[in-house]
Amino acid sequence: MQADAHRYHLALGVPDSKAATCYIDSAGQPQFTIANQLRLPAAFLSQITDEDQLRWFYRPENAPFPASGPIINCCACFDDFRKALYSMARWLPDGALVFNHPNAVAHAASAQFREGLSAIKGLVVPQQMRLRPTQPDDFARAIAKVGLQYPLQVQFSTHLHNRPAAIVRSADDWAAVMRLDWPHQRFLITEMRGDDLAQHVRIRITFVGGAAEQVSFAYAYPGATLVKDFVPPDKMEPDRFRAVVAQIAKRVGMDHWTVELSFRPNRQVRLEHLWPGLPVANPKDGPDPGQLLWKSVEGRLQALLQAPQKWRTAIRPAHQRQH
């Protein structure tokens, strides 16, 4: 398919919650921002000058996309944009060039995908479950049913780049979660081991096409102080580590994504997060590895966006996509 490089479309999503934050721009006009959208280079966004280049989802009666021109899926969180991603996948034209295809985003959030990752030698993929509680005992009941072991990391599933909402150390330790605004919110609950709570080194790797940039940093869970002169445990040998990362990358169908791994004392790496795009925290909230990575990958991302023939949907024909 011949891409029209000058006529991109952005596929945007209204979150399932419909929630947004508003502000007044410099011209005095009200605007809104949506969390967990794909971050795009300013140089690329300057090409999007026509309102018609923006397509919003979810709309059951949405008009199909134009038949030509590359499409950027801007929904960078499966949990936040389930309906939008589903709707988008339904309306995408056959053979369209789609950056971060919605099916690939959905696949990377699936239990099937995590199961596949757990087969990678040297990679620990912790047990995890999603939950939308309506009663206080929904947490403990669901955890018992699934068989997760304490301690547990509890996160709002749409705020994954932030710190965990709470660490629950035992069945009697849900008080911190109960203090959250929890009813009807979506949570991601992840099994931990006792030594997972100790300070450790994390590495965050952002993929743009086949290329990767990484940054490592010391990490401590809330309640533990980050020790400045922390001596990390022995790292996994570089070759083994690269092999693990390559195995992960082989299973991801997105064009631009980020994985965060932690080094464990037993020379294993643990999967912490995997996101579409690159999550970048607000600088006002303090230093963030995403900010460093963005500086490294922005130019490369711009180049990839300008070359739709290198996107996954161009490399792998539709009938070969198994997301």
């Binding site: 945007l12 209204v14 979150p15 419909k18 929630a19 947004a20 934050t21 508003c22 502000y23 007044i24 005095g28 006009q29 009200p30 809104f32 949506i34 309102e51 923006l54 397509r55 919003w56 989802f57 979810y58 709309r59 949405n62 008009a63 309506t134 009663q135 206080p136 605004d181 009813p183 009807h184």
Partner: protein, 341 residues
């Protein structure tokens, strides 16, 4: 004459999105004034628009009049305070900040409770975490079952529940509005001898009442789609309106509500039973939708309703907005304004 059209972001900056007919996402202007297009156009022609918290330009700093679009003191506490403190008292303000602040549900009994023939249910504002908290509010304020409990910030019955006994309190826990401000309201049964619940919405413009619509339902929550009796027999609505307009007691109640309130434009919902001369004020506030866009392709009754229920009120509203000197916040103050729009 140059005016200021005052709008604001919610204090918490949180909004909900919708995808409009044009296919674009926009945020819903929750708890903001809903005016007919003719009035909106006239205001835009003659006023600069200011979105709080954007600082006003020099041109907007001394307006001759202000139209305040913020209708809820909880959603817009910061904006209303700023509006009140920033502009001098002699400037006419359509729906002044002070009048909006006084229009809360828990303040209605104090404002309208003395009107003869009108029952204004007791209401108490509170926040809760447990069933004990709810029970305490109920007992400390001498409520009797049933009561209605609803989050303060929403209209159209959103989140409202009827509680018939102590066994029902648990149904209020862990809702989407858990730990947010609620109001407990004494439920007063307005069921007629025909087992129908009737509700009337009255629009007030400069204190003058206009009946906007009636609804009739077999369920106590006469709201939106819960209008089965009139859906089954649409002409019943105009029969009810005829009867209400001819009811001297009801029209007297409306005139007194309009006189007491300092709002220029607001609506009031009342339950009623004409056979027993019973009128119960559900709520009175400026957040209600009282005008609707003109639609084509409707049946004849739609145009009859529009001609009778919407056009006279709309014409009066447009005329009233054009006379800031007559706005309610000028009643006890000095008038400095002439024609506005």
């Amino acid at each position: 004459m140059r005016g200021l059209n005052f709008l604001a972001l919610p204090d918490d900056r949180k909004v909900r999105l919708q995808i409009g007919e044009h296919g674009r996402a926009t945020f819903i202007r929750h708890n903001m004034l809903v005016l007919p297009q003719s009035a909106t156009d006239a205001i835009h022609r003659n006023a600069a628009t200011l979105w709080y918290p954007h600082p006003p330009s020099d041109a907007a700093s001394e307006p001759d009049w202000i139209v305040n679009n913020c209708t809820d003191p909880d959603t817009f506490a910061g904006a209303l305070q700023w509006l009140e403190e920033t502009f001098q008292a002699h400037i006419p303000v359509f729906n002044s900040a002070r009048a909006v602040a006084a229009a809360t549900r828990d303040n209605q009994a104090a404002r309208f409770g003395a009107i003869p023939g009108l029952t204004v249910p007791q209401a108490h504002r509170f926040r809760f975490e447990t069933e004990d908290d709810l029970r305490r509010v109920f007992e400390d304020n001498a409520f009797t079952f049933p009561v209605l409990v609803r989050p303060v910030e929403f209209q159209a019955g959103v989140g409202m529940q009827r509680i018939d006994s102590h066994d029902d309190w648990a149904s209020l826990l862990y809702s989407r509005w858990y730990r947010k401000d609620h109001v407990m309201i004494q439920f007063i049964d307005t069921k007629t001898a025909d087992d129908v619940y009737l509700k009337v919405r009255v629009t007030f413009i400069g204190g003058r009442p206009y009946i906007r619509h009636c609804k009739a339902a077999s369920h106590w929550l006469v709201q939106g789609q819960q209008n089965d009796v009139i859906v089954a027999r649409p002409e019943y609505e105009l029969e009810l309106i005829d009867a209400l307009e001819a009811h001297e007691g009801f029209m007297g109640i409306c005139r007194q509500i309009g006189e007491i309130s300092d709002l220029d434009f607001f609506g009031a919902d009342m339950g009623f039973d004409l056979a027993s001369d019973r009128f119960v004020l559900f709520e009175a506030n400026p957040s209600m939708s009282m005008f609707f866009p003109e639609r084509v392709g409707r049946e004849e009754l739609y145009f009859i309703r529009r001609k009778r229920l919407q056009i006279p009120a709309e014409e009066h509203l447009n005329d009233y907005i054009g006379k800031p000197a007559e706005w309610r916040n000028m009643r006890s103050g000095q008038s400095a304004a002439g024609s506005a729009v």
